[in-house]
Structures are given as C-alpha cells and as structure tokens.
C-alpha cells in the first residue's frame, strides 16, 4: 500500500529535474559524468590535473544546504540508524560503489539516461538488495 502521508510526487519530480539538469550541465559543459561515488573515489587516487574539478563538484554538493537555507528552512529529516549501523552502512556503500563502479547517480541517473545495459544491471542489483535489506531489517528482524 502507498504511504500517502509521506509521498511527495511534485517536489520529488521537481528535485529530480534539478538533478537531471545538473547532470546534463556537467556532461555538456565539462564532458563529465556526475557520478558522486566516482568523483569522490577519484580523490583517493589523486592524479595530476584530475583533482580540481572533483573538489569543486564536491564543494558545490556540500555547500548546497547552506545556499538552500538562505531561501527556506531545510526540510526536516529522520535518520533512524544509530552509530554502529551508520558505520557498517558507510563501509558497505564505500566498498560497493567503488567495486560496482557507481551509485544511484552514476548508474541510476546517468547510466540509465544513456541506456547503458551495464548500468541497468547495476541499478537493478542495488535496488534489489536495497529492497531485500529493508525487508529483512523491518519485517523479519524487528
């Protein structure tokens, strides 16, 4: 059943259009893929001349809520995970996105936009394991 109290089709669509616009800008202006895990991961393998744009993109991403705050209060968020779970989740996301060469942005948004079969498989895989994980945590364990 659909959770009508939390479902936000219009703002989510609007945010998605912004994300798509950012990815389109980055592609057409700079010739690069807006894949966050790849951009971040590349900073851990510094290569001459390949660091500045990564730092600039990450800075923009980090600064976004500060800019948003100037216009409106930030949306209230709810983070259920405690410290241990956040650490385990972070490690898995870090390892998994680098081995799998992408995350929700690189495979999910950019990969599906260019109709890459590789990204379709990756997106199906992380969606599937995300569904299973939440099912196990919420409905089998708790």
């Amino acid at each position: 059943m659909i959770d009508w109290t939390h479902f936000t089709p219009w703002t989510s669509l609007a945010g998605g259009l912004l994300i798509g616009t950012a990815a389109a800008m980055f592609l057409l202006l700079n010739g690069k893929i807006a894949g966050i895990s790849g951009i971040l991961g590349g900073l851990l393998r510094p290569t001459a001349g390949d660091t500045g744009w990564r730092v600039a993109f990450v800075l923009g991403l980090v600064a976004a809520p500060l800019l948003y705050q100037l216009a409106a209060p930030l949306p209230v968020v709810q983070i259920d995970a405690g410290t241990t779970l956040l650490v385990v989740a972070g490690l898995l996301v870090g390892l998994g996105t680098r081995y799998g060469s992408g995350c929700t942005s690189g495979h999910g948004v950019c990969g599906l936009s260019r109709l890459s079969p590789r990204s379709m498989v990756a997106t199906a895989a992380f969606m599937a394991s995300g569904f299973v994980t939440v099912f196990v945590v919420r409905h089998l364990i708790n």
């Binding site: 059943m1 936000t8 989510s12 609007a14 945010g15 998605g16 259009l17 912004l18 994300i19 798509g20 616009t21 950012a22 990815a23 389109a24 800008m25 592609l27 010739g31 807006a34 971040l40 851990l44 500045g52 600039a56 993109f57 923009g60 991403l61 980090v62 600064a63 976004a64 809520p65 949306p75 968020v77 709810q78 983070i79 259920d80 995970a81 989740a89 972070g90 490690l91 996301v93 870090g94 390892l95 998994g96 996105t97 799998g100 060469s101 992408g102 942005s105 936009s113 890459s116 079969p117 590789r118 990756a122 895989a125 992380f126 969606m127 599937a128 394991s129 995300g130 099912f135 919420r138």
Partner: protein, 145 residues
C-alpha cells in the same frame, strides 16, 4: 571556467537532492520498504532526472567535445561481470541499512549534525579500502589499463 561549472553543477545537484526529499534517509528507506507503507517518491526523482538525462546524453552523442573544452568522457566499459554485480549488491545493502547513498550524505554534511558525518567518514574508509585492495592485488600495468 571548468572549475566554476563543476562547482555550479555540484550545487544544483545538491539542491535537487534537498528539494526531492532524498537527503531524508527515512524517505529512501520508505521507498525501499515495498512490504510496508510504501513511499514511491524516489521513483519520481529518478523519473525526473532521467527525463532530462535522456535528452542530454542523446545530444552529447552528437558532440566530441564539451562546450568548455575537453573530450566528452562517456564511460566505455560494457562488461557485466561479477565485480559490477557484487559491488552493486553490496552498495544496495548499505543503502538499505541507513538510507544514505553518496550524494545525499555529502549534501547533508554541512547542516545535518554528526550522523551524515559518521556515515561519510565510514564511506570514505570503504573507498580507501577499495583503493588499497586494488593496489595490492593488481599489477600497475593493469591498473592503468
């Protein structure tokens, strides 16, 4: 100019994540909870982003160079291998556990308190572990291939 555009793209991307609701982990896990009260919002985020992306990538294919210089760096990898699938499956488990993926975690860092920070540090540690593993188990020649 390229640096400025990268900063701007990151900024717009981050604003999109905030507007879409994806910086709220409970909204992400709400999408992943098919068997509970399901929040389909994330599908609308993906739909909106891919809608614009489809046009952009189609147009990009007609160009060999970016507007501010440099070649179009569109991924050439095509192989669907164990690495891709196990990596993506592992990522999905972490994503489902906390409701964070890399973008929203970074876009929550400046204002979200300690939780996104803890997640981001752990994520960077995971990425660093990958780099160390790659360096130890791959020959330098292969690494540059």
């Amino acid at each position: 100019m390229q640096l400025l555009m990268a900063l701007l793209a990151g900024l717009v991307f981050g604003l999109g994540l905030i507007v879409s609701g994806m910086t709220d982990p409970s909204k992400v896990t709400g999408f992943l909870d098919l068997a509970g009260a399901w929040d389909p919002s994330l599908a609308f985020v993906m739909g909106g982003a891919i809608g614009v992306g489809l046009i952009a990538f189609r147009f990009a294919r007609t160009r060999s160079h970016a507007i501010f210089g440099g070649p179009m760096q569109i991924p050439a990898a095509r192989q669907i291998d164990r690495r891709l699938i196990f990596g993506a499956l592992t990522f999905g488990v972490g994503w489902g556990l906390a409701g964070y993926c890399p973008g929203p975690a970074l876009a929550s860092l400046a204002t979200g308190g300690s939780k996104p920070l803890i997640f981001t540090v752990a994520m960077l540690a995971g990425m660093a572990a990958f780099e160390i593993h790659e360096r130890l188990f791959k020959s330098p020649a292969k690494k540059n291939a």
